[in-house]
């Protein structure tokens, strides 16, 4: 019941882990930034007229691609962190450092997917609605 962790894995994992509770939130934070940017720029364009809506639209579509790229990167890193291929484990119910490590990776990976979906949803109106009306 009381597995002493591998002496080596522990050493480097602790450093990785100190940040991992935070890291879980990075992908959603990207979504939030993207969202705020979309909302703020469109308000400016539609109320002040500067920058023009057409330019805002293209800029925001670019920003969407950038946000997706960032999230993809985060997702890829957390996928490696989760490492289901290497460990062959999809669930992590035990009280060992390995399980905790892979669990955090798994959660971060899933969140990256949700964030990507969120970004895509928010960006859809940019494609289908032309202007301020």
């Amino acid at each position: 019941m009381t597995q002493e962790p591998h002496p080596h894995s522990d050493k480097h994992e602790f450093r990785a882990e100190a940040l991992s509770l935070w890291r879980i939130t990075f992908a959603p934070a990207t979504w939030a930034l993207h969202f705020v940017l979309c909302y703020a720029l469109v308000s400016l364009s539609c109320i002040h007229g500067t920058p023009p809506v057409a330019i805002t639209r293209s800029a925001l579509i670019l920003a969407t691609l950038a946000a997706l790229a960032v999230i993809a990167l985060l997702g890829w890193r957390s996928y490696r962190h989760w490492a289901p291929g290497r460990t062959g484990r999809l669930t992590h119910p035990y009280g060992t450092p390995e399980h905790r490590h892979h669990f955090l990776g798994h959660a971060a990976f899933l969140l990256a997917i949700i964030s990507a979906i969120g970004v895509v949803f928010v960006a859809l109106p940019l494609l289908v609605i032309g202007g301020c009306q």
Partner: protein, 851 residues
């Protein structure tokens, strides 16, 4: 030093051999006696000075239930008035007060506090802790809630209740005569602050009070939800508090934030309210999912399927729900592109919500389900919530919303989500956890009666409302004329409302009836796997007999010897050798033991502090400012006495035996201490409130062609610069004081503290001078500049009190080079203050000259 080296001498994790060691019989008896006396609940009238979370949690639950019943009675009166056309049971004004109070009380006095109440009760047991880390803070929060709630609710008895709807839109609410709006603003702000206090307590509890070994991947799902919901409260309530502040400044000092004739904008309130209001819906809904996540594995008799998926969706919903608020403002004429963003985001949030439900269904499908009363309520919840969700998806489509906005369709939708997402699951939770709370069972027969009455009554009442709404009946009308085809529908709804009431009567009777002759419940009546079912029957107030070492998600299922060892005191802290209340503090990620935390015992000071804080909020509603200021000062004094006498005192022994050969420190400062985390979390909320005010500044800028107005007077540039410099200097000196104090240079540290207080005073003064010539009643620009300055000024004064507090501590031996927790916390406060002062000075000093 690396983690591994620094851990190897510690006997943690405990070896099987150490755990198997029996505790001698007489020692065990002595330990039990000492623990019992340390945790004994005060007798007689002193009972009300209790602070431990089981007592406070119980009061909290019962009070929230009482407020809910009051709001329910108001709903019945509303329904009676609407039963027939052209009814004159109550006046239009009464009607307005009733629906405003019904909505406000249900949301602010029941839905959110109920979550905090249940969590306070449950969480220590779920985590295997003796208690949460700040018992007196919970008690303070409870008394604030009680005082504020009674104040707000009783206004309806005097015919002065708020009457502009639960979201208090200006200009209706700003121009409303009488104290109604002020009662809403001040009374509810007071309660929101109590809610924030409870959120801090709960978050710190989950992060730092878990049983040793309970790593993040082993936490009960309920704890994950507490973390998410606590975080949401932390980011959602501050915008509302900031909005309340602006609103109250407009009502009492005539600063024109929402008055378009002087540059204000009512839309700002709508934004601030709904940035709070939409996440609020999820703050109400997620705890119910949390309860479901505890009940489902038990009835399916297997571990939950998709633990990581559920955690992910909880966190995901928490985030996404902050991007939806404008869907309450579809009809305000915003650009269609902006509406599009929020419409799309509103659809996206369905995905993580769905994932949680599918994980539950999957667990039920692969398990061996035993039907029980909690499951019946959950099934009802699922049915009702699904319908509410469907109408929600319809409403998120902006053109459909244009059609039914402000009709009874909305009333139907919101009650479907609230009953399905809150009432039914919470009642499921009550049935499930009642044996834990009360050590007795509820009656299954009465439970089924209550369920079928509430379920059928609910559908009878609210299903027809969809149609009433589509037929055009607006919400919030006190009567309607006949011949519009609404009569039969309304009458049906009224009958349904009374059937619901009958169901509640059965439920509440079963809940509260005397139980002296009833046998004790079995210890683990549902055969659940989580730690709360290791509770003691008959009840003991010590939380757990000894704090277990946890290595699995369902310890009672997966660690067969755990319960016996807990009871025999073979785990941590089986004793209270100094006769004091203590619990273990563990590390955030892996729950390694780091500290034995001394907990505070019964005291009147939280009640005293709450009474004065209440006065500070309640007197201004009647324009009595001097008594309010006096109360504020007394409240501050009470809180200082409380902190001084009971927190971060140097302990008698530096280290103590925690059991199983583990010796742990008894004092910590910085991130190892719970106080530091509490300040961190509080300041996050505080910074959010401040950002909301800054958001206001930029909102005016984006929404107006000319902001600041041409030729407007600005804050004095030189004075703003001096303020910025002085405040930064003060911060740097606090940091320096902490350093030098650590290095044993106590004299220098004291000198730095004194100088820092002087600098802070200079900064506050300079800021006041910078905005002195402005006239905040003339236009919204000077008004918001003054508000920003006021915010920083008040925080600086607080910061000065803290600096002097540390100085006093240093002079009297409370704060020493080794025992510097207070100084660590004050440094943290000043980190935040320094950042916000810089932001404030940039916004009032530089931005207007650039824009």
């Amino acid at each position: 030093m690396t983690e591994h080296e620094n851990r190897s001498p510690l006997p943690f994790p405990p070896s099987e051999q150490a755990l198997a060691e029996p505790v001698p019989e007489d020692l065990r008896a002595a330990q039990v006696a000492r623990l019992r006396s340390a945790w004994a609940r005060p007798k007689g009238w002193r009972y009300w000075s209790s602070v431990n979370s089981s007592q406070v949690g119980k009061w909290y639950c019962l009070t929230a239930l009482f407020f809910m019943l009051c709001a329910g009675v108001m709903a019945l009166i509303i329904r009676l008035q609407l039963a027939v056309p052209e009814n004159d049971l109550i006046s239009a004004d009464r009607f307005n007060q009733l629906f405003t109070m019904h909505g406000s009380a249900m949301m602010f006095l029941f839905a959110v506090p109920m979550f905090e109440a249940i969590s306070l009760f449950l969480l220590p047991a779920l985590l295997g802790a003796r208690d949460m880390s700040f018992p007196r803070l919970s008690a303070f929060g409870y008394w604030c809630f009680l005082i504020g709630g009674v104040f707000v609710l009783s206004s309806i008895l005097f015919d002065v209740a708020p009457r502009a709807g639960w979201f208090m839109y200006p200009p209706l609410a700003t121009q409303d005569e009488g104290p109604g709006s002020d009662i809403w603003l001040l009374g509810l702000s007071f309660i929101e602050i109590a809610s924030l206090a409870a959120a801090v307590e709960l978050i710190v509890g989950v992060l730092k009070c878990r049983a040793p070994g309970m790593r993040v991947n082993l936490m009960p799902l309920y704890a994950w939800y507490v973390l998410v919901v606590g975080g949401m409260i932390l980011f959602a309530f501050p915008p509302l508090i900031a909005g309340d502040l602006l609103f109250e400044l407009e009502r009492s000092l005539d600063w024109p934030f929402f008055d378009p004739t002087r540059g204000g904008d009512p839309m700002l309130w709508q934004h601030l309210f709904w940035i709070f209001g939409h996440p609020e819906v999820y703050i109400v809904f997620l705890p119910s999912i949390a309860i479901t996540a505890m009940v489902i594995p038990t009835v399916a008799r297997r571990p939950i399927v998709g633990y990581s998926w559920i955690v992910l969706s909880a966190v995901g919903v928490g985030f996404l729900s902050f991007g939806l608020w404008v869907h309450h403002m579809f009809t305000t004429g915003l650009p269609s592109l902006s509406l599009g963003f929020f419409s799309a985001a509103s659809e996206a949030v369905v995905i993580p919500t769905g994932i949680q439900l599918f994980a539950f269904l999957a667990t039920l499908m692969v398990g061996r389900v035993t039907m029980s009363l909690p499951l019946l309520w959950i099934t009802g919840a699922l049915a009702v919530f699904t319908l509410g969700g469907l109408t929600g998806v319809m409403l998120a489509i902006a053109p459909f919303d244009f059609q039914v906005h402000d009709t009874y369709f909305i009333v139907a939708h919101l009650h479907y989500t609230l009953f399905g997402g809150m009432i039914f699951p919470v009642i499921a939770g009550v049935y499930y956890f009642f044996p834990f709370f009360r050590k007795r069972m509820l009656s299954p027969r009465l439970g089924r009666w209550a369920f079928w009455l509430i379920f059928s009554g609910f559908n009878l009442c609210f299903l027809p409302m969809h149609l009433t709404g589509l037929l055009g009946m607006p919400r919030r009308v006190y009567t309607y004329s006949s011949g519009l085809g609404w009569e039969a529908l309304n009458l049906t709804s009224t009958v349904g409302a009374f059937v619901i009431a009958a169901g509640f009567a059965v439920f509440v009777w079963d809940l509260l009836r005397p139980r002296r002759n009833q046998p004790d419940a079995p210890r683990n009546p549902w055969n659940a796997g989580t730690l709360e079912w290791a509770h003691d029957i008959p009840v003991e107030d010590w939380g757990v007999r000894s704090i277990p070492y946890v290595t699995s998600r369902y310890p009672l299922w997966q660690q067969p010897k755990l319960l016996q060892r807990m009871d025999q005191g073979r785990y941590y802290l089986p004793d209270s050798d100094e006769g004091a209340r203590e619990t273990l503090v563990t590390s955030v990620i892996d729950a390694k033991p780091v500290l034995i935390q001394r907990l505070t015992g019964p005291s009147w000071i939280p009640l005293v502090a709450a009474i004065f804080t209440g006065g500070c909020f309640i007197f201004p509603t009647f324009g009595l400012y001097w008594p309010a200021i006096l109360c504020g000062l007394l409240a501050g004094g009470a809180i200082l006495i409380w902190l001084w006498t009971a927190t971060a005192r140097p302990p008698r022994q530096a280290e103590k035996d925690a059991g199983l050969g583990l010796s742990l420190p008894t004092y910590a400062s910085g991130p190892d201490s719970v106080g530091w985390w509490a300040i961190w979390i509080t300041m996050l909320g505080d910074a959010t409130a401040f950002s909301s005010i800054l958001f206001g500044f930029f909102f005016y800028w984006t929404a107006q062609a000319q902001f600041p107005p041409p030729g407007a007077a600005h804050a004095d540039g030189v004075a703003v610069a001096v303020a910025a410099l002085a405040l930064i200097a003060s911060w740097a000196l606090v940091v320096l004081a902490r350093r030098t104090n650590r290095l044993q240079r106590v004299g220098r540290a004291r000198a730095a503290l004194i100088t820092s207080t002087l600098c802070a005073g200079t900064g506050a003064l300079a800021l006041a001078l910078a905005v002195w010539p402005l006239d905040p009643t003339a236009h919204v620009y000077p008004a918001i500049v003054c508000t920003i300055a006021l915010w920083i000024g008040v925080h600086t004064v607080l910061g000065m009190v803290m600096q002097l507090y540390c100085l006093a501590g240093s002079l009297t031996g409370k704060l020493t080079p080794h025992h510097d927790a207070d100084l660590g916390n004050v440094t943290l406060f000043w980190n935040f203050l320094a950042l916000s002062s810089l932001a404030a000075c940039a916004v009032i000093g530089i931005a207007p000259r650039l824009l």
